[in-house]
Structures are given as structure tokens and as C-alpha cells.
Symmetry: C2
DNA sequence: AATAAGTTGTACATAAATGTACTAAATGCC
DNA sequence: GGCATTTAGTACATTTATGTACAACTTATT
């Protein structure tokens, strides 16, 4: 039995009580939530020995995925899906750990640039093998065709969310 | 341009630096994360006027979806995907608001039962029309066929996560 | 019955995330 | 130039979530 079965049963009861409750959307949203929690927890567990958590990992990977390893706090907030107040806290911690460097921008002195340090880069390349293995394990249940299809459908879902 | 395009560009840079980084799994995980955040924020915004947040809504709906409107804290933790320590806090708040009632179980005095009150039921039926509209809007970008397909693929993904 | 082993739930300390208000700097306008 | 408006970033207070330890109780074993 899937871990999702009880959720479906509850949904059936709910629809018995309130027939207008839309089955498909509710199922999709709940599935997304379940999956997200699992993925998030798995990543946290993997990263713990490295002394960082999932949001910090995301920050590091956003910098790693940028030419020059550099972003502003606001770009980073956007990229990592965090609120800007959160970015301050997270990058403070990463600076304290010596993984990221914070410098003032010349062109616009309101701005700050955040750059991955050599130490940060080394850490990333240290945990990436494990991360890759985790990602492949997590998505390993799907055939390439299914995976591509899932990607297409999730993108469509997200695009529609962005519009509405 | 989709809000996801920058993420894909960053992934391309990442793969340039670390070719072993698996594209498909990373894309899927990041899509799920983006969608989850959006859905979560939307729900919070809708529920704010009702004086509750998304996790509290989840608790209420788990009770609403159960015969007898009653669950134990541990069942509830499982159902809502929250840690048990969190359930104590959340249900305390819901009790304070008069939406949920906490009583001691007769059969096993370690146990506690949490039951939806009439007031809680009334609140649920008050916000359900808006919730239904939101859910339909969120998933409205997909045709029924696509929706069913997405459901199937997400379930497969989740089942595989549960095994590993 | 006595005791060991396991469950259930909560309290408390800690960590993580968010909202609000504010400072400093840039931009546009007159 | 001076003044209003907008933008970037952060500090602080508050809210939300988690981890750990513990107390109360049941169940199993002998």
C-alpha cells in the first residue's frame, strides 16, 4: 500500500461531505506536498554532515550555477525562492563559515555582491557526488520517457500558476 | 518566458562545471519545489482572513476527512506530514480558537482524541468555496487527461521515494 | 505480580522563516 | 541644485518548525 492511500481515503470522505471539492486538483496539490517534504528531508539528512542545510545548499548551488559565481542578494532571493530578509540571514551564516564573500558594488553602492569562495567551491565539489547519487535515486523510479513527460506537465502546471 | 527559465540556465552552467550532475532529476526536484512554494503561499494568503494558516488548514481538513471528525495526535501528525511536536502546538492553537476539542481517551489513557467542533466545521464550510475555487484555478491549466497523467507520474515518483 | 520494553503525548530549548520598519543610495522631476 | 519617489539591503520582533528529553501509561515476558 502506498503512503498516499490514507490521503485518498480522506479525500473521498471529504467529497462525501462536500461534493464540490475538486478531486484532481486536491490530489495533485497533496502529492506535490508529500513529495516536496520527502525530498527536502532527504537533502537535509545528506547535508547535515557538511554543516549546512537545504536552504543553504540552494544558495550555494545558485552561485555555483552562475557565471562568475556571483549574484546580488535580490537575484539570489529570486533564484532560491526565499524572501529577501531570509537571504540576509542565510548569507550571513555562509559568510561566517567562509563559504561566501560579501562585497560592496562599485557601480551602485546600494548593491552588494555575494561570491562563492574557494572554500565554498571545494565544499560543493565535495558533496556533489553524494547529491548526484541522491537525485538519481529519488527520480530513479521513472523511465526517461516518463521523466520527460512529468517535466512537461509540471512546467505547464507552473506556467499556469505564474499567470493566475 | 517562464519563471523557470533562469533555473534551467543555472542548471546548464552547473552541468558545464560538473557534467555528472543529472539534469532530469534536478529539474524535477526544482519544479516540485517551485510549485510547492507557490501553492503554499497562495493558500496562506487565502486563509489569512480566516485567522488560520496553511498547516492549521491541513489539520482541520484531515479531521474533516475522517469519519467522526476525530483523530489522535499521532495519526494527525502522520496525516498532515508534521512532526508530533508540531501537532501539539498547532492543535493547542486550534483549541484556543475553539475549532478543535481535545479529550482524554477512555480505552488507552495515554491517548488523546482531537475532534472538530461545530465552530470548526462551520469555519471549514465557510472557506471551502474559496478553497475549491483556488484549487481549480491552480490546476486549471491542465486538461483532464493531462491531470490524470500527472497524477499517475507523481504517484510513481512518490512510491519510489517511499521504497528507497 | 514484577519488571522490562515499547507507545503516546508534551514541555522546553533551539533553529528557521517571515513581516515590518527602517537606512542608504539612486533616479526622476521641477 | 533641491525634493519626492523608488530600489536595495538589513535589523529586529514575531511566528513557525524541529530536536531532544521526559513523564504517563500500556503491553509483553517471566
Amino acid at each position: 500500500m502506498s503512503s498516499f492511500t490514507p490521503t485518498e481515503q480522506r479525500l473521498a470522505v471529504t467529497r462525501g461531505r462536500y461534493p464540490g471539492f475538486p478531486r484532481e486538483p486536491a490530489i495533485l496539490v497533496r502529492l506535490i506536498k508529500h513529495i516536496y517534504k520527502r525530498v527536502h528531508d532527504d537533502a537535509n539528512a545528506l547535508l547535515k554532515p557538511w554543516g549546512i542545510n537545504h536552504p543553504e545548499y540552494n544558495i550555494l548551488m545558485m552561485l555555483y550555477g552562475t557565471e562568475g559565481y556571483t549574484l546580488n542578494p535580490s537575484q539570489l532571493a529570486d533564484a532560491a525562492g526565499e524572501k529577501s530578509a531570509n537571504i540576509t540571514r542565510l548569507t550571513n551564516e555562509l559568510c561566517d563559515k567562509g563559504l561566501v564573500e560579501r562585497t560592496a558594488s562599485d557601480e551602485d553602492r546600494r548593491k552588494v555582491t555575494l561570491t562563492l569562495t574557494a572554500k565554498g567551491l571545494a565544499m560543493i565539489e565535495g558533496f556533489l557526488p553524494d547529491i548526484c547519487a541522491l537525485l538519481e535515486r529519488q527520480a530513479g523510479g521513472l523511465q526517461p520517457r516518463e521523466s520527460a513527460q512529468l517535466e512537461r506537465l509540471l512546467k505547464k502546471f507552473l506556467d499556469h500558476l505564474d499567470q493566475g
